[in-house]
């Protein structure tokens, strides 16, 4: 037979455990989950001819990624006046 003392101890332990759960810390930093793009597919910039515009100095053929990259690299260096001045 369970003595009254044991019952009191068990009850006290239960109350202590219940009280201690309040001390636990939950992660409060929001962890974002990237969604998957649901919109229309986009074409790559090198998939088209640069166009017959008068002001388009770069020329590459449609789908020529390396040609497009070369055009952009030379354009990038125009921003470096140290190489332009020397």
């Amino acid at each position: 037979m369970i003595s009254a003392r044991k019952l009191v101890i068990a009850g006290a332990a239960l109350i202590a455990v219940a009280a201690m759960t309040g001390c636990g810390e939950k992660e409060q930093v929001v962890v974002y989950h990237q969604g998957k793009y649901q919109g229309k597919p986009d074409t790559k910039p090198w998939e088209n001819d640069p166009g017959a515009s008068l002001y388009t100095p770069s020329k590459w053929k449609a789908g020529d990624k390396s040609g497009w990259e070369t055009a952009l690299k030379s354009r990038n260096q125009n921003q470096n006046e140290y190489t332009r001045a020397e």
């Binding site: 990237q34 986009d42 640069p50 166009g51 388009t56 055009a71 354009r75 990038n76 921003q79 470096n80």
Partner: protein
């Protein structure tokens, strides 16, 4: 091709707002929407610093994460773009963005918030490249023409650099190493030559 990035050199930016104007003109951005703006710290105080801010095309973009309709995508060149046909104008991206890049036209009745508009790195959007539809919704697609963003290319002092992150980082590093400090930051000695005798003092009683 590495990621496309912007860098703004605070030592060079003269707050001319040329980048803002270039962006407005190139993309025909509507009234009330500024894809790019110049921010000045300690305005009017000697030593004030200005930088030009727009979408930073974050590698881990918070706008993409919070969008409830998932209308954002990142291109192979690391440019963060969105589909305006899907945008519901909720404004979550505006609250999530640390740079205030997403903008909302408010020309409608009762201050109605329109679809989000932001810097596209002059890369258009998910429409046919250089088409009328693309220009109307997103502005110019200069990347598809082999050009860089208009703001960076138009910058008069070349404070704003835009393009392949590795390349512009090299340009910036080279500049920071070469320009030295003091008046050389502005290129005074390069432009006007160095004084013959830097230790020379002004004669006493002379007026400057």
């Amino acid at each position: 091709m590495a990621r496309m990035k912007f860098i703004c050199d605070a030592e060079r930016c003269i707050e001319c707002n040329g980048c803002v104007t270039a962006c407005k003109q190139e993309n025909e951005v509507p009234w009330g929407v500024n894809r790019r703006r110049v921010v000045t710290i300690n305005d009017g105080v000697p030593g004030e610093k200005s930088i030009s801010v727009a979408c930073m095309h974050c590698s881990d973009a918070p706008c993409m994460a919070v969008c409830p309709v998932d209308c954002f995508y990142r291109t192979e060149e690391g440019v963060v773009l969105h589909d305006k046909d899907m945008c519901i104008g909720c404004g979550y991206c505006f609250y999530a963005c640390p740079f205030g890049a997403p903008q909302f036209p408010q020309a409608g009745a009762f201050g109605m918030r329109g679809k989000m508009d932001k810097c596209t790195f002059c890369a258009g959007g998910p429409e046919k490249d250089n088409s009328k539809e693309e220009f109307a919704k997103y502005g110019s697609n200069r990347l598809a023409q082999g050009k860089l963003p208009a703001c960076a290319e138009m910058c008069s002092t070349k404070a704003l650099l835009g393009g392949d992150g590795d390349v512009i980082a090299d340009i910036f590093r080279n500049r920071a190493l070469k320009r030295g400090k003091g008046s050389e930051v502005w290129g005074w000695g390069t432009a006007y030559g160095k004084p013959d005798n830097p230790q020379q003092q002004a004669p006493k009683g002379a007026k400057s």
